[in-house]
Amino acid sequence: MSGLSLRLHCTGEADFRLRLDCELPAAGITAIYGPSGSGKSTLLDCIAGLRRPGADSVVRFRDEYWQRPGSFVPTWRRRVAYVFQDARLFPHLDVRQNLHYALRRRHRDNGIGLQQVISWLQLDELLAHDPGALSAGQGQRVAIARALLSAPDLLLLDEPLANLDHTASQQCIVQLRQLADELDLPMLYVSHDIEEVSQLADQLVLLQDGCLVARGSLLELCSRLDTRLSQEEQAAAIVIGTVARHDPEFCLTELAVEGQPLLVGGNSHATGSTRRLRIPARDVSVCRQKPADSSILNILPVVLSDMQNDGASRVLLRLQLGSQFLLARITRKSAADLQLQVGDHLFAQIKSAALLMESTDTGE
């Protein structure tokens, strides 16, 4: 079964143009990432049919044409659900009625059940409330529940966490990730927050000025030097490791990344479970010899696979660790002093590494 095939030409306000010709996977969470004004929301609107792109545009989902020259399937007949930045709950209905609204009009009969959604998103307490009485986080949870209950084949999310505080958005991220894993529901997730994206996404699509810049797996794209991602101040590599053991004495947890030990803050993840780690480029430095008496715990042997100037004074390094990659941002002077060459064997000193979705397991 193929995915979502798009050929879009769309002209918007103030000279904005969206021009895309690509095939997106219809599985897992695909993040659409780019600065504001890059066309992310316009892209979702075209997929949902809320906006009509130029007449020669094509939108095909699996084997069904939602738009092609001469035909346009209206939004309500496309089996998509949409979670907007504002929850858009119906103000004349309470939470329960909002959920029933979706349930009565669901796109398929064999969708997820009401009780399951209510318990997943912890809505029991909220059912009798009016939307006006909900906090932003609660409202967005109801909106996600409502979208799921319409039993879509594709879930579109447009910066659903933008109005939420940190705790609420972490909670939503955890829930979305679980839903994606358990429901086998493909999601397109628009965001301009790289942290959100790195916690959630399986694949990444980079948009800029209405054009697709790059796409691929999150891990690959995050460590590439030729995209905007690595040039951002908070650029970070994502690596995957397995929880090896816990050290209660120092309150640390050891992960195995490509056979190398990596220590992070103590947590209660089950040993043997696979975790994502985010390692910011600015927190990684390199040296030729393994320092013997450093305060830095994580020093890993790596191979310099690529390097690129990052502004006038800095250099961005791509470091290979087994089959995965780290990013390091150092000064251009250091790179010159160390006479760094691609292929050099180095040691990466990692000052900080954060487990993603830390809050998932606090209750487990």
Binding site: L50, P74, W76, A81, R88, Y101, A102, L156
Partner: protein, 228 residues
Amino acid sequence: MSLSTTELDAIYLTLALATITTVLLLILGTPLAWWLSRQRAQWPAIIEAVVAMPLILPPTVLGFYLLLLFAPDTALGRAWEQLTGSQLAFSFSALVIGSVIYSLPFVVQPLQSAFQRVPHTLLDAAATLGASPLDRFRSVVLPLSRRSFVTAASLGFAHTIGEFGVVLMIGGNIPGETQVLSIALYDYVESLRFDEAHRLAAGLVIFSLVLLFLLYRHDRRDNWRVQA
């Protein structure tokens, strides 16, 4: 003090006219108001202007043109007579048609502004949940404009009851057929029967006051609830 047959007839006729007119206005005014509320182009402003005309035109002007239009020798008059077997001018049907036109702005304007206030974002959300256009209107637009429907219906009803000029021009003054309360009152005054005139006038004042009080109270309560 009991009401005469003429007066009872006039009351019945007035209420029937107002009720039928209001029902027709809601049936015709709702789609018109919805259509007007969705137009972004400039030209529908001419339709809005035509709808609003009865607000400023002397009712006699409207009545005069309708009288000419309803005459038995016009296309409309002839068609009506062939279809129904009776003439249109000076009939109850003519009153209904005149009242619908005369009270149209009182129904269309509140509905149109209510429809414009319904956020299109909610309609988009409903569409993504699988609601067809008609379903969206029924399940989102109608409940969110409920208040304005009450306002529109009440204003249309009350305004029809208060109608005089148009009725005078196109209805004539046939007791039991086209003589509504305002005309009966006029008759009494013309023939210096002030006691009867007082009865009808006071009755209309009280009725209008009660109706408007109920309407504004309903508005107030709802306003309050929306804010709460």
